[in-house]
Structure formats: C-alpha cells, structure tokens
C-alpha cells in the first residue's frame, strides 16, 4: 500500500506535482495516467526518496521508503531503463544491486531467467536495445521479491510480444496480492492492464477511480442511425428520452439510448432502418478530452488542418 498526502514538488516557480493525495492498494494493478510532463515520474521518484517533496508525505506500508530495514526486499521499481552502467554485464549489474540487499547469487540467475535475459546475461549492457534495458530494469525490480512494485512506462520500446508479457507479469504480480503501480501516457495500455486508475494532468489529480467506472463515466454511448424517415424517428426517440443530432444527409446520432431500444422503437412504429450502429467513444478520446486543458506541451494545430476523427 502506497499512501500520499499533499505530495508536492516545486521546481522554482513551476509546480511539477501539486498536492497529490491518494492511496494505492495491494492486490490490483493501479494505472497512473497522464500526458507527458504531467508529473508521473516525479511522483514515483518522490515515493522512492530520490527526490525530496517540497511539501507533503508519502509512505509505503506506513513507512517512508528511506526508513525501511531492507528497502529492496519491500519495494522494487523500474523508473528508467537506462539507469545502468553500460560497462557492466546484466549479471554484474544485478549482482551489484543484489548485494545491497543481502540477496544470494542464485536469485540473480532466477530473475534473469524470468525476464528472458539469460542468454545475454554476460554481455556488456552497453549494446542492449531499449526493450532489453526494460527487461533488465524489471529484473532488478523483482530481485528482492518485493510486495510493492512500481513501473514507469514499462512498455516503451518493447515489441508486441514483450508488451503482452509485461501485461501478464503485472497482472500475475497483483494476483499474488502485491501492490502494482504502473504509469503510462497511453490510455489504451491502461485499458488492458489496470484495475484502478489515477489520472493526473499538470501535477494535479484529475481522477481516482476503478477503470470500469472511468470508462462508463467518460465514454458515452452514441448510436448512428440511417433511416428513410429521419424526422419521424427523431421525434419518436426524443419522446422516449433520447437525444438526437442530425448531420443533414439523414443520418441521426443518438445518445442516451441503446441500439436495442432504438431498433424496437423503429419496429413498433414501422420506420424502416438502413443502418443501426453503436459507436463507443474510445477511452483514449475520453482521456484526451479530460486532460486537454492540462497538457504541458501542446502542439499547435496548423491552420486549416482538420483534427482526425477518432472513432472506433
């Protein structure tokens, strides 16, 4: 369990993290979502004592990280796949860290096996790809068999197989009752992995809720209907409580009512339908909508450009 209370980090004038209060519970994967520069990494660094908060406190199972007897046996983290001396092999890197926690050599072999780096364990890590670096970082997080795990953007640089592997890994870790806290700037990634979501933008907490609730709240159902009698159907739907918008060429966009209900209505009143399709706003759209005002580095849209329609 990770508990933050009023956690704040200020760099000069800029508030990188602004008074975050949250609790991350064991037994589930908690996603930490926000655009680039929202303060995700800084928050994780403060949890690990790498950065000192300007205000507020954060504890892990009731203690600050730096006060733990054997910190790496309780918390494992992958913050940065490049936190490696390129002159050392994967094996030597892990052995240096293992010794800090009094962890035996055979555990190094175990975690190397676990992340699939056994074959290159004796090679200097300088030549590692980003994906291999991520795997090595995950190996070091798992070294101490910790109860709390944190991963900052773990799927960066991984191939689809590697992404699937990480998702499964995080789910199994949570299923074993561990606390798993994983950050991403991609909503689609969280949709597939996380049980609970913390969403931040510009250092502030925007949402703290289960993923399914986030989806329900933020992705309103819309139904596209094409019919020979748009005006009549629109009246019928509106009378039953649906909201209708028309786009001129006879296509209706209905919200607040599902496909079943619309189909039944049309059938009951003998309105011929040409198309009846459920459109779900993707979570990605919901997330972008939600954080639009809090994106740190906003790209200007060139004049005349049309924002692409993101419909699935």
């Amino acid at each position: 369990m990770i508990e933050a209370e009023g956690l704040t980090k200020r760099y000069g004038e800029r508030l990188a993290v602004d008074s975050l209060t949250f609790t991350i519970r064991p037994g589930q994967v908690t996603g930490f979502l926000g655009p680039n520069g929202a303060g995700k990494s800084t928050t994780m660094r403060m949890i690990l004592g790498l950065d000192t908060p300007s205000a507020g406190v954060v504890t892990i199972d009731g203690k600050p990280f730096t006060a733990m007897d054997n910190p790496m046996r309780e918390v494992g983290a992958l913050l940065d796949a490049k936190a490696i001396h390129g002159g050392r092999s994967a094996y030597q890197h892990l052995w240096c860290l293992a010794q800090l926690g009094g962890i035996p050599k055979r555990r190094v072999d175990e975690v190397l096996e676990l992340v699939g780096l056994t074959g290159v364990a004796r090679k200097r890590s300088k030549g590692f790809s980003l994906g291999m670096g991520q795997r090595l970082g995950i190996a070091s997080a798992l070294l101490g068999d910790p109860k709390v795990l944190m991963f900052d953007e773990p799927v960066n640089g991984l191939d689809p197989e590697g992404i699937l592997w990480i998702r499964n890994l995080m789910k199994s870790l949570a299923a074993q009752g561990r606390t798993v806290f994983v950050s991403s700037h991609l909503m689609s990634e969280m949709e597939n992995t996380a049980d609970h979501l913390l969403v931040i933008g510009r250092g502030r907490l925007i949402a703290d809720c289960p993923v399914h609730e986030f989806i329900r709240k933020n992705s309103e159902l819309a139904v596209r209907v094409r019919t020979a009698e748009p005006t009549r159907l629109a009246e019928l739907v509106t009378a039953e409580g649906g909201r209708v918008t028309t786009d001129g060429d006879g296509t209706l966009l209905v919200t607040g009512m599902g496909t079943d209900r619309i189909g039944d209505l049309a059938f009951d009143h003998q309105v011929r339908l040409h198309e009846l399709a459920a459109l779900r706003a993707s979570l990605e759209e919901a997330f972008m909508e939600m954080t639009r005002d809090s994106v740190e580095f906003q790209a200007a849209v060139p004049a005349g450009a049309v924002a692409p329609e993101v419909a699935r």
């Binding site: 660094r45 910190p71 068999d145």
Partner: protein, 277 residues
C-alpha cells in the same frame, strides 16, 4: 505464457541492510568495470616500467658523460628520480579513478538504481569511500615500493640507495599514502560536481594550474597559500629532502592535504544528502 516463478527461492528478509552489504556491492562495482583495471594497469606500467627505462637511459647509460655537477645532484636526491617522478605521473590515473568511482554513477544513471536498492545515501557514500581508499592504499603502497625497488636496481651500479638513507623510508611509505588521499580528494570532487569531465578538469586544474600559479603571489601570504595548496602540501611526503624554505614538514604536508580532503568530503556528503538524485 510460461508459468512465472516470481517468488523463487529467496529466504525471508532479516535485519537491516547496511554498510556491510554496501561494501560488498561497491567492491563488486569497482571490479566489474574495465576502466578501473585499465587505469590501475596503466598507472603501474608508467610508474614502474617507463620510469625504470627513463632512469636507465638518463642515469645508468649516461653516467660516464655526466658532468660532476649532474652526478652530485643525482647522488644527493636519488629518490627524486626513482620515486617522485613516477608518483607525479601516476597521480593523473589516481585522480581519474577517484572521480570516476562516483561520477560514472551519475553519468550512467546507475546511481538511481543504487539508491532504489539502498536509499540511505550516507551508507552508499561511506561504502564508496572505504572501498576506494582501501583499494588505493594497497595499490599506492605496492606501486611506491615497486617503483623504488625497480629504480634502485637500475641506478645501483652508480648510485647506491637504501631505505635506511635519511628520508628514504618515509618518502616511500608516504608516496603510498598520498595515493589514497588524492583518490578520496578526487572522489569528493566527483560527488560534488557529479560530472566526469568537470570533476577531472577541476582536480587536474588544481593540481597543475592553480597550485603553480600561487607561486606568483607575492610576499609571505602568497608563500603560505602556495604551501597549503592541496597537492603542493601533500606531495612533500614523497620528497627525500624537503627544501629549507618549505613551511611544512613532509608529514605536516600530508596532514594538511588530508584535512583539506576531509573538508571536501563533508561538503560532498552534505550535498549528496540534500540534492535530488
């Protein structure tokens, strides 16, 4: 997906992880990076090998051609040739090893991995200091005695040298002690600046430029500043005979260098505690 053996065979955690674990880790770190071994190797080759060659060419083979003044100057201070000059050269490698012991952690990002495993920074710094000072003490004394023994053998036909000569034993032991103090001085500079090139430039700049420039300062206070510059004071310990105008004795000189190094270490510790990693 294969079954994940996540827990493995790790025994339950007991006790507090502290300096002993950190010492083991730092010892592995320093041995597992090639640059350390290369630097020590290069230092040994230059200090012992090249210097023996130079002494053979410039003293042993030229003895017959030397004018009496040259001969008497070699006879008066033989250790300048067989000990002080190799140490003067070896100190560059020592400065690099000391700086890199900590600056490489910052430049590679390894420091974040280290502090995630052991967030108590003074434990990490303490372990680094003990490992570097211990290693450099052994290397320094070995090098000093090796340079002395080789040099002595090379010039023996013309210039007899013995450890029992005045100042000789002190100079040889002192040279070995100067090495770990310099390594620690450099490590502290590396911890303060956290940047390899900047820290090496700073240490060598003090050693080669600033120390020499202070000679130009006038009057008694200029003389004092020059005498108390870190490497000026420290290097007195490996000179066989200290010039009468020197303000410090050889051991006082090493003491001054060690005290200045200690101050630098305190600054480094303070900053390491305070700064974000």
């Amino acid at each position: 997906m294969t079954t994940l053996n996540l827990t493995g065979t790790l025994p339950a955690a007991t006790g507090r992880s502290g300096l002993t674990n950190a010492l083991r880790s730092e010892w592995t770190k320093i041995r597992s990076v090639r640059s350390t071994l290369w630097s020590i190797g290069a230092m040994a080759a230059v200090a012992v090998g090249l210097n023996a060659l130079i002494n053979w060419l410039t003293i042993d083979r030229r003895w017959a051609q030397m004018v009496p003044g040259e001969r008497s100057s070699v006879l008066a201070n033989p250790l300048d040739n067989i000990l002080a000059s190799p140490m003067t050269v070896a100190q560059f490698a020592v400065a690099v090893i000391g700086v890199m012991a900590i600056s490489a952690e910052y430049s590679t990002g390894m420091v974040r991995s280290t502090l995630q495993a052991q967030p108590r920074r003074m434990t990490i710094l303490g372990a680094k200091i003990l490992v570097i000072v211990g290693l450099m003490l052994v290397v320094g004394e070995a090098l000093s005695f090796a340079a002395y023994a080789t040099g002595k053998a090379v010039i023996a036909p013309h210039v007899p040298v013995h450890l029992s000569d005045p100042g000789a034993l002190r100079a040889v032991i002192g040279a070995g002690l100067y090495i770990p103090v310099l390594a620690l001085f450099s490590l502290a500079a590396g911890a303060i600046l956290r940047h390899t090139a900047a820290a090496i430039t700073a240490v060598l700049g003090i050693m080669l430029v600033v120390s020499n420039l202070t000679q130009l300062l006038p009057d008694s206070w200029g003389h004092h500043i020059n005498a108390y510059m870190p490497m000026n004071a420290g290097s007195l310990v490996f000179q066989q005979h200290v010039a009468p105008k020197q303000l410090l004795t050889p051991w006082q000189g090493l003491g001054v260098f060690a005290a200045e190094t200690a101050i630098l270490v305190v600054v480094a510790a303070f900053l390491m505690r305070r700064r974000d990693a």
